[in-house]
């Protein structure tokens, strides 16, 4: 009972306390409102609102990349460049949390509400989104003559079931890093086949020039699949048959390729056993501290290698396409984000307009300069400004020409888990044929 008596007393006290501050705040607030209202009337707010209503409103969702600007700035620039479409930017987590980005996109697309109208997607999700019927086929908007301006490998990755379901945006791929200074001591010629690479690497290691001949990524993770795609394709092999309905990973070409990776640890000993637990960063560190001769990695390594604060090999690093087997062609695993339109979008024309603008030469040029993300249009690699400001990127055209997609199947998420486990087993045990046979059965069950 006493409690109830106390309550209101203390309450009114505290109320009295705030009144002055409160009133002041109210005055400031109302003054601001008044000002805004007069300003609004004066500058023709009503006119602007009318125009906004006639604009088609759509949304754009993407993993958050950033450089000198963000994708939000990019969308703002689009909104200001025309008055037909108004785009709302939905920011997803950064690309380093790609599993979360994937979940976020799937949850929105599965609702079939038409939001987001336009989205960006990692190359490995394209087939899944297309098979689920979430991605609008773009063939009628981008006929063959418009497509020839893009890299073939990227276009292949954007195609599912004979239909273009994504539009190339920006890309990355696996590449071959080498130490120029050490290579000069051992012939000076960048090896273009795996056997030569192994010989030079072993020689450099024996001569004591480096601790490790060749570094790659063998951790049971997505990157292992990338390394495998590259080496298997460079032997004219494949993980899946062209129709995506059966496995080819236990065929001779693929088995030879995986055997080569195992041999780098067990036989030629040009790679430390540690690569089996290394993904990108652990393998990058020994290379930029000058302990390794060759390395397979993505394009992000180059700026680090040229940074005197983080690297002991400044100006000593070169980049080339990865080697291949006799009779095969160099292959680079394709990465990067591509654009898609939601099949349930209610503003299709507006969505296509945004898509076209984002993937246009001008915007890709801007993304290359401001984000450091490489264009999917080969012509841009000849651009003078890009050559000047991003000289390394400009030199990658040859590498990107060999860009190869990872297996294109709507069941990719399951296939990659099987691949990671199966290839890891083969590399650890050395029973490559047996493990590949078992893996092949497993993949056939998933895609068959």
């Amino acid at each position: 009972m006493t409690d109830i008596k106390k309550g209101p007393v203390s309450g009114s006290k505290s109320a009295a306390h705030v009144t002055i501050a409160d009133r002041r705040q109210f005055l400031i607030g109302s003054a601001g409102l008044l000002g805004a209202a007069t300003l609004g009337m004066g500058t023709g707010l009503s006119v602007r609102r009318a125009r906004a209503q006639s604009r088609a409103e759509i949304s754009f969702a993407s993993a958050a990349f950033f450089g000198k600007e963000t994708f939000g700035d990019l969308i703002k620039a689009f909104n200001e460049s025309q008055d037909r479409v108004l785009v709302k930017n939905i920011e997803l987590p950064p690309p380093s949390s790609s599993t979360e980005v994937y979940q976020g996109l799937v949850q929105q697309l599965a609702r079939r509400t038409g939001t987001p109208d336009v989205f960006s997607q990692d190359v490995i999700w394209i087939a899944g989104f297309a098979a689920a019927g979430w991605a609008l086929p773009l063939d009628e908007y981008f006929p063959a003559d418009k497509r020839s301006a893009y890299f073939t490998g990227t276009l292949n990755a954007c195609t599912y079931g004979g239909k273009l379901t994504a539009l190339p945006w920006f890309m990355d791929s696996g590449m071959f890093y080498y130490r120029k200074d050490v290579l000069d001591k051992h012939g000076g010629k960048v090896p273009d086949n795996w056997a030569d690479m192994a010989t030079i690497a072993a020689a450099a290691q024996k001569a004591g020039d480096v601790d490790f001949g060749y570094l790659w990524q063998g951790k049971q993770a997505e990157v292992l699949v990338c390394d495998a795609v590259e080496i298997i394709t460079s032997n004219n092999g494949a993980i899946l048959a062209p129709d995506g309905k059966s496995s080819q990973i236990n065929q001779k070409a693929a088995v030879e390729a995986i055997q080569f990776l195992h041999d780098t640890i067990a036989k030629t000993k040009i790679s430390p056993q540690d690569v089996l637990s290394w993904d990108e960063e652990p393998s990058r560190q020994p290379f930029t501290s000058g302990k390794a001769m060759f390395m397979r990695n993505w394009s992000y390594v180059y700026p680090i290698a040229q940074d005197a604060k983080a690297s002991q090999v400044v100006d000593k690093v070169g980049v080339a396409p990865l080697p291949s087997f006799p009779g095969g062609k160099s292959a680079a695993c394709l990465g990067g984000y591509q654009l898609g339109v939601n099949a349930n979008s209610k503003q299709r024309e507006a969505a296509i307009e945004l898509l076209t603008w984002l993937s246009s030469t001008e915007t890709q040029h801007r993304i290359a300069l401001n984000f450091g993300l490489a264009p999917t249009r080969p012509a841009l690699f000849q651009d003078e400004q890009i050559k000047k400001e991003q000289p390394f990127m400009a030199s990658l055209e040859k590498v990107f020409t060999g860009a190869t997609a990872r297996p294109i199947t709507p069941e990719y998420a399951k296939v990659t888990l099987a691949l990671q486990s199966g290839i890891s087993k083969a590399l650890v045990s050395g029973n490559v044929q047996a493990e590949m046979d078992a893996l092949s059965d497993q993949i056939n069950k998933i895609v068959g």
């Binding site: 063998g218 430390p272 998420a413 890891s424």
Partner: protein, 309 residues
């Protein structure tokens, strides 16, 4: 409430008279029940139901499929591989942590200078976020620059660097070591509280009868500590069974699936492949296994208590 119960009818609000007392109690319990049911009971039941469907976000299927998921699970080598690893991890880490933790508790039970400080400092590993512990052990056991390799190499115990996380023979052991380092202090603390409940008079009486330290421990302290030991062991085993962070950060389940546990497997199935049906079946299987572990511990505990009486 207790005051109202002892002096019925006085000071009770009017509403109470209108309601039978049993109903009144139920009414008061409702908020707690609803909140518990919505965050705990509903997810469990929904998980069980999902495990009986073929729900997948990718294929957009969402139909009842009976026990198809469990049949698939029974024949899934990946699942059994993860199951055995999880059991091994649980057994090894729980036993090691209990034994070492008991030793630590016995030391901390003795009076010595700076005991308070040592007790507080001991808890530091346990208070650290597991991800931090994982990164730390990643560096300690690094195959190239790790201090463990450096020490072993210079002590002449190994003749070349061991790649702790890259070899299926050592990866799981290393993760167990990390877990033991992190959680033993917690065990020690639980056991210490148990030891402090052992009456000093019993120990003094034993000493008067001429019992040495070991005898006192074996016949007086340990039997009296047994219930605490079992409950602490149960806590630890259930906690160890759902190991995730260490594996996820250090090895991702590799190499060659040698560190795949049920938590990491179900995470991959649920959130990478988005098969909510099958993933829920994996989680349910985990839940059932944990239930069996808890049951074994409880039966043993009951037997202990009965024997003591």
């Amino acid at each position: 409430m207790s005051a109202a119960a002892t002096v019925p009818g006085i000071g009770r609000p009017r509403l109470g008279k209108a309601l039978p007392s049993a109903l009144w109690a139920l009414l008061l319990l409702t908020p707690a029940f609803v909140s518990l049911a919505s965050v705990s009971f509903y997810p469990i039941v929904n998980g069980l139901y999902l495990s009986l469907t073929n729900t997948s976000l990718i294929t957009q299927e969402n139909e009842f499929s009976g026990f198809a998921n469990y049949v698939q699970l029974w024949g899934d080598a990946q699942f059994w591989n993860a199951w055995w690893h999880t059991m091994w991890f649980t057994a090894a880490s729980t036993i090691l942590e209990t034994v070492i933790g008991l030793g630590m508790a016995l030391i901390l039970c003795e009076a010595f200078k700076g005991r308070g400080l040592v007790r507080a400092a001991m808890l530091v590993p346990w208070a650290m976020p597991t991800v931090v512990t994982s990164k730390m052990f990643g560096w300690l056991f690094d195959g190239q620059n790790g201090i463990i390799n450096y020490i072993l190499l210079h002590a002449g115990l190994i003749d070349q660097n061991i790649n702790w996380y890259g070899s299926p023979d050592t990866a799981m052991t290393t993760i167990i070591i990390a877990d033991v380092w992190k959680t033993t202090p917690f065990m020690a603390l639980l056991l210490l509280t148990g030891l402090q409940t052992v009456p000093n008079s019993l120990i003094e009486a034993a000493r008067m009868d001429g019992a040495k330290g070991w005898i006192t421990f074996w016949y007086i302290r340990l039997p009296l500590l047994m219930p605490t030991l079992l409950i602490a062991g149960l806590f630890r085993a259930l906690d160890a069974f759902r190991v995730f962070d260490l594996v996820y950060v250090l090895t991702g389940g590799g190499p060659a699936d040698s560190t795949e546990t049920l938590s990491t497997l179900s995470y991959k199935v649920l959130f990478s492949t988005l098969q909510f049906g099958y993933g829920s079946a994996v989680s349910t299987a985990m839940f059932v296994t944990e239930g069996i572990i808890a049951l074994v511990f409880c039966l043993y505990l009951i037997r202990q208590i009965r024997r003591a009486q």
